[in-house]
């Protein structure tokens, strides 16, 4: 299991991460960031598999993917 950290104020809303995410863990937000852009955010109904596709395609490098230890996975998803 993995966890994504998005620097939402840096996001320009290009939606490449949303398009390439294989498990539809990312979606567009309903609120705007400081730039007035609808930014990418995670969907709590799905789980990140840690493939890093979002990190690879993000032109702003504002996404980080963290691998979780088994103990942390339990804590996060219960």
């Amino acid at each position: 299991m993995a966890k994504i950290k998005i620097n939402t104020d840096q996001c320009k809303g290009c939606r490449l991460c949303i398009h390439f995410c294989p498990v539809h863990h990312l979606r567009i937000s309903e609120e705007m960031n400081n730039k007035g852009v609808l930014y990418a955010c995670t969907d709590p109904h799905t789980r990140c598999i840690g493939c890093g596709y979002c990190y690879l395609v993000c032109p702003e490098s504002c996404i980080e993917v963290h691998l979780l230890e088994p103990s942390e996975t339990k804590k996060t998803h219960t």
Binding site: R15, L16, P59
Partner: protein, 245 residues
């Protein structure tokens, strides 16, 4: 918590001025990652082009210089000859490298300068408003070819710089890759790392052409622009390794 994908330390924590979905941001990160992996941040000098990436030195956390339009490889030659131990690379667009700087490009490659050139091909002049570049595709609509590029009216054919330079004996490594999917992006990182490695091993001139999206000028959304690279650009500029020692 262990980190799997983290912003490379050679990339400054700074917001870029590029349009949403621009390939420059992705390529800046790839170059920074490769430099971190090779651990050459303190012995690297980059030369930025004129074009959208003109202020690339604002984003990279290593030494950078700026060159006059098209003259990046000439400036890089000077840096390399004065400091042969430095890893010197240029980062140039198609208007900069293939049009106004063609003479500098061909002669730097022909002299076999131990440099690495990262050639960003987006088939248009991005910064100046989308005029036709030498690499524009046949039928591509640009600001200066509103009916599409037609060779019959004197606009010529797409210039394949990588194929041209691969014939020169001073060139040791030429590869063409794209930024159209996570797989291609990882492949681009691998080719750029190989190109740097050839320079560090003093083998000769290395060039990596990267097919990069320009959603604003192509008048597509970022996802469509990625798809356009796969469906149209790759037909004219097929990815692969064109020359290897």
């Amino acid at each position: 918590m262990s980190t799997q994908y983290l912003r490379p330390s050679s990339l400054r924590h700074r917001e870029t001025h590029y349009c949403p979905g621009c390939g420059h941001g992705i390529l800046h990160r790839i170059v920074s990652e490769v430099i971190d992996e090779l651990d050459i941040r303190r012995t690297t000098a980059a030369v930025a082009p004129v074009g959208c990436a003109v202020v690339a030195y604002n984003y990279w956390n290593f030494d950078c210089s700026e060159a006059a339009h098209g003259r990046a490889l000439a400036v890089a030659t000077g840096i390399k000859r004065v400091s042969p131990d430095l890893c010197v690379f240029t980062y140039q667009g198609d208007g900069d490298l293939a049009s106004i700087g063609l003479a500098e490009t061909v002669h730097a490659a022909n002299r076999g300068e131990r440099l690495t050139c990262i050639f960003v091909n987006n088939a248009c002049y991005g910064m100046t408003g989308g005029q036709m570049a030498p690499t524009s595709l046949i039928g591509q609509k640009t600001a200066t070819t509103p009916c599409g590029r037609t060779p019959d009216t004197g606009e010529g054919w797409p210039l394949k710089i990588s194929d041209l330079l691969a014939q020169l004996p001073g060139v040791c490594f030429v590869a063409r890759c794209a930024l159209s999917s996570p797989k291609e992006i990882q492949d681009t990182a691998r080719q750029i790392k190989t190109a740097f490695q050839h320079q560090l091993d003093k083998r000769g001139f290395s060039l990596v052409e990267v097919l990069s999206p320009c959603p604003t000028i192509w008048q597509k959304n970022p996802v469509e622009a990625m798809a356009w690279i796969d469906t149209e650009m790759k037909k004219v500029f097929p990815p692969g390794i064109l020359k290897t020692p």
